[in-house]
């Protein structure tokens, strides 16, 4: 069976979009071939991409769809014939089936006899299917940003399509898209190849032929070549290594067709600038890798990944160019670093009056004052629960936290906000605790980041974000659907993580109350946070949705406690006794709900004199003993043991349901039994609402 190849030639596709587009093209092509019965259930398939092309290669594709024999049922015989002659209905059915009336059969069904026809549906050739269907799949690929280029605007795509190549075996499949019809011609590297198209012999020869024209179309091959070259080139410097940066490796892999690596140098004098600034310039602005010495300290070198083969002639030229650019950038950074220091952060507080935070929420100066008042509240609370935080230091950090927004360095390198403030604070003799808190204030910025290193930084981070969330909610600017222009969800995610992962003795309600006193806003914010906590447990902690529901139902104010409960439940949920108890809790809950619907409201207290059956007496005793044991264990946060206590109740619960009928006619006994169930359920649901645990299937 022939192999199938499609290549779409494009003007340079943005690096950030390539990986997902490559995967989507493969997925769509495979889905099409599978839908059209042109490949086996699990075909061997590959996909490739460079900035200038997307390609898929699928092994062993049928050249032709199988013919299909179908039996179709037509009108009822009594309608199809009148006085033995075929009616219009019979004629129409015959025409539709491509047969003469005399060729039609009769089939018997429970509803009577019907006309039927056997039709042969000829399979289309693969080429026909591809030509007819593949353009729709190409057109449907998702791009974060796309464009029109042809007059009349017939289609949008990420960048202009330059050519298509499409082969089934050695035959061209003339599929068309964006005004191009596929042939077998492709192009090599923009500079290293001749610039003229060349012909792909067959899908199998595609990769090798491209490689001959200086294109490594396989992304992984390119990535490995880059990593090896980075290693190799860095070896020129004794005991140095390049600083690992997966995102940057990814970016340069998607920016090159024929990568090579060049080592450049900068003057050691620039190492006096903070490492954060140097690395940001190199990584974010120049896509250079930083080089560090054996102690992890930055060394005065950089690595750039070129899209051309380096040799003795071009290496010094390209090196000189890159070094000059970096020198100019470092010079700028040094100028800003020195210029900014002439106005200390303390003097910049007043400049914040002129920097708008949000038009209805005022300037950053106002925001800083609000944040200072929130950190004061939170610090007092934390200290009242045993923390030993210096309120003056945190308050001072809050006032200076946003002043770096007025510095030239942050205007130039916005991604370094906070970090720059922390660095300036340190070099201006502000206490290390306050400087670190300022430095860490935006942590965690993403799921990969850690939380602030210190309690002071954590409180500052909480206060800054809850001020923003509270303010926006008061203005009615909460996120809706996919719209979250102020990234409030991310802010809330960070609050959740700090509360769950730091050692601060603070609860969610403390944080929310510190920012808003308005009841209705508070309720909305709480609901918003409930979603974020749910998200955190599922995505950040890998907890199953039923466990999340169960533990959330038992409260989600103390988030560290919540995480501990979720983890305990997850580690117990494999146990048979635990699942049985969970099922029993579900049963108790159902009985209580049904009773409630009939107006049977259980009394709050169980009357032990009314307990008649030994099984119910036993449950009352064991459950009550368990409840007090659990209370102690819960105080120690020993949830594993607490859950074992609950699981150990299984025999008495099973016994109860085996022997005791709850809904008896006698009102007092029924009420007392409902009270027993209610009590048991309440006492034992303080860790999680176990009835939420999915126990079957």
């Amino acid at each position: 069976m022939p192999d199938f190849l499609l290549e779409i030639g494009l003007e340079e596709v943005p690096a950030r979009m390539l990986a997902s587009a490559q995967a989507e093209l493969l997925k769509r092509t495979l889905a099409l071939l599978t839908r059209e019965q042109l490949v086996s259930a699990d075909p061997i398939a590959h996909s490739y991409s460079t900035p200038r092309r997307l390609a898929v290669l699928i092994r062993a594709v049928l050249a032709q769809q199988p013919d299909i024999t179908e039996e179709t049922t037509g009108p009822a015989v009594k309608i199809a014939f009148k006085d033995g002659a075929p009616t219009a209905a019979a004629e129409a059915f015959a025409r539709k089936s491509g047969a003469a009336v005399s060729d039609l059969k009769t089939v018997s069904t429970p509803k009577g006899d019907y006309l039927a026809a056997t039709t042969l549906k000829r399979g289309r050739t693969t080429s026909e299917v591809i030509v007819a269907e593949l353009p729709k799949e190409i057109a449907a690929i998702y791009w974060a940003k796309n464009m029109y280029w042809r007059a009349g605007k017939p289609e949008r795509f990420v960048r202009p399509v330059l050519w298509l190549a499409c082969l089934l075996g050695e035959e061209v499949v003339p599929v068309s898209f964006a005004g191009k019809t596929a042939g077998r011609a492709t192009y090599g590297h923009r500079v290293l190849s001749t610039g003229d198209p060349f012909e792909i012999v067959s899908p199998q020869s595609y990769l090798a032929q491209l490689e001959g024209e200086y294109v490594l179309a396989d992304v992984e091959v390119r990535r490995q070549k880059i990593r090896k070259a980075l290693d190799h080139v860095t070896r020129a410097i004794p005991s140095a290594r390049w600083r690992e940066d997966h995102l940057l490796v990814d970016a340069v892999t998607h920016l090159t067709e024929w990568p090579d690596v060049l080592l450049g140098n900068f003057e050691p004098a620039y190492l006096e600038l903070p490492e954060e600034v140097l690395v940001t310039v190199m990584r974010d602005h120049q896509k250079y890798f930083a080089v560090e010495d054996a102690n992890g300290k930055l060394a005065p070198h950089f690595l750039t990944v070129t899209n051309i083969a380096l040799d003795e002639i071009n290496t010094p030229i390209i090196k000189q160019g890159n070094e000059r650019v970096l020198r100019a950038r470092f010079n700028d950074a040094r100028f800003f670093w020195e210029f900014d220091q002439r106005t200390p952060l303390a003097d910049r507080v007043k400049l914040l009056e002129n920097v708008t935070f949000q038009k209805d929420l005022g300037s950053y100066a106002e925001k800083s004052r609000r944040v200072r008042s929130i950190v004061a509240t939170l610090t007092t609370l934390a200290n009242s629960r045993g923390a030993t935080l210096d309120a003056d230091i945190i308050g001072g950090a809050a006032m200076l936290a946003k002043t770096d927004l007025t510095t030239e360095l942050v205007k130039e390198f916005t991604e370094l906000q906070g970090i720059i403030g922390g660095l300036y604070a340190r070099s201006q003799g502000i206490s290390a605790k306050a400087a670190d808190a300022i430095y860490d204030q935006y942590l965690p910025a993403s799921a990969k980041d850690g939380i602030p290193r210190s309690a002071e930084g954590a409180i500052l981070g909480l206060a800054d974000r809850i001020d923003t969330i509270g303010g926006m909610f008061r203005l009615g600017m909460e996120p809706t659907g996919s719209k979250d222009p102020f990234a409030l969800r991310r802010a809330a995610n960070s609050i959740v993580r700090i509360l769950a992962e730091s050692s601060l003795p603070l609860w969610l309600s403390d944080v929310i109350n510190a920012s808003t006193q308005a009841q209705d806003t508070e309720a909305k914010i709480l609901a918003f946070f409930t979603e974020r906590i749910d998200f955190y447990l599922r995505e950040g902690r890998d907890q199953a949705y039923d466990v999340v529901k169960a533990v959330m139902a038992a409260g989600h104010n103390d988030l560290r406690d919540l995480v501990a409960r979720a983890e305990a439940v997850t580690s117990m949920r494999g146990s048979e006794d635990f699942l049985a108890v969970s099922a029993a809790f579900k049963r108790m809950k159902n009985i209580l709900t049904q009773a409630h619907a009939k107006g049977d409201i259980p009394p709050a207290i169980v009357d032990h004199d009314l307990l008649l059956d030994p099984a119910e007496k036993l449950l009352a005793v064991t459950a009550s003993a368990a409840a007090s044991a659990i209370q102690e264990l819960q105080a120690e946060r020993n949830y594993g043991e607490a859950l074992r206590v609950i699981a150990a109740l299984r025999p008495s619960i099973d016994d109860f349901f085996d022997k005791v009928m709850v809904m008896v006619p006698e009102d007092d006994i029924r009420a007392n039994r409902l009270a027993l169930l209610n009590r048991t359920l309440e006492d034992l649901s303080r860790i999680a609402d176990f009835s939420e645990i999915v126990t079957a299937g």
């Binding site: 003007e11 009349g152 920016l255 071009n314 030229i317 000189q320 708008t356």
Partner: protein
């Protein structure tokens, strides 16, 4: 370390301009002279901003001095200028393989593509005040951004059809690159063919940088600038209103349609934009005011673009 570039062989600043202009003239471009008003970028010249509107094809190229008052550094920063020079090329519609054409232009100015590392990195252009955006690349040459390459998609808030390709060369950066210099001011602007005497960029332009930086940051009179802004805005707005009667309502007087001064209105809008930039450099616009003033200028520019498009339709029909 001695430079690997042979300086004598690299183009002077003015040769660079000649060569690029000749290249694009040979590829069918009309060579226009720089627009004689203050603009922040070649894109704002009517030869780009207005000509990309409507269906009429055009190929045009021009060098455009571009003023950005806030970027001035009194001539003391080797890499930043109050006024830099762009070479702007508009190709409407863009020809097939326009990138290859662009690369040929680099060869024309003495860049041997095999000896350099060239990448087209995503960089999308947006000018909210002009209701304009496009997608494209920054062209990186050995780590230096030398060109902005954009496929215009919208202008004046209107979808474009056909679209235009815009190539903007940063001439100082390219000259610095060709001549391997750390400072813009050391660029050789011209070389006397008989004596070989060189004139540098600094000799030609430093005093402008010094004086215009001082004007923008220290001398410009803020109340006057606000007054200018209001006057330009009022006149531009008045023209936009007049356009409603003359262009958008049934008008038998074809000559009046043809002669309606949309271009005059556009110049007034450009004046507003430059005055705004001066006020900004002077630190006279608070962040809160900023959004509002920018919205006012956007109204003017987008308003003029709409008039231009309408006038184009009416005159093309006639």
């Amino acid at each position: 370390m001695p430079s690997v570039v042979e300086k004598k062989k690299s183009l002077t600043f003015q040769e660079l301009i000649f060569t690029l202009q000749r290249f694009w003239a040979e590829h069918g471009c009309v060579l226009q002279q720089p627009y004689d008003l203050e603009v922040g970028a070649g894109t704002m010249s009517p030869d780009t901003f207005l000509r990309v509107l409507g269906p009429k094809p055009i190929r045009i190229a021009y060098a455009q001095p571009s003023r950005r008052p806030a970027d001035g550094r009194y001539g003391e920063n080797p890499n930043r200028l109050f006024r830099h020079t762009q070479l702007q090329v508009i190709l409407k519609p863009p020809p097939e393989r326009v990138q290859e054409l662009y690369l040929e232009s680099l060869v024309a100015i003495g860049i041997d593509l095999r000896q350099h590392d060239i990448k087209f990195e995503e960089d999308n252009w947006e000018w909210p005040v002009g209701g304009a955006w496009g997608v494209g690349w920054q062209v990186m040459l050995d780590g230096q951004e030398i060109t902005q390459f954009t496929y215009f998609q919208q202008c004046g808030g209107m979808d474009l059809d056909p679209i235009s390709g815009e190539i903007t060369y940063g001439l100082e950066r390219i000259a610095q690159f060709l001549q391997d210099l750390d400072s813009i001011y050391d660029i050789v602007w011209s070389r006397d063919p008989s004596t070989g005497a060189e004139l540098t960029y600094g000799q030609v332009r430093l005093h402008e940088e010094q004086q215009f930086s001082a004007y923008s940051f220290d001398y410009a009179d803020v109340p006057s600038l606000w007054k200018h802004l209001e006057l330009y805005e009022a006149e531009c707005q008045a023209l936009i209103s007049r356009a409603q009667e003359i262009l958008f309502e049934e008008n038998e007087d074809k000559l009046a349609v043809l002669r309606f001064p949309t271009l005059g209105a556009y110049e007034l809008a450009l004046k507003c934009s430059h005055t705004f930039n001066l006020l900004d450099a002077r630190g006279a616009i608070s962040v809160t005011e900023r959004v509002g003033v920018m919205a006012r200028i956007r109204n003017l520019i987008v308003g003029v673009a709409k008039i231009y498009a309408e006038q184009g339709k009416l005159t093309a029909a006639a």
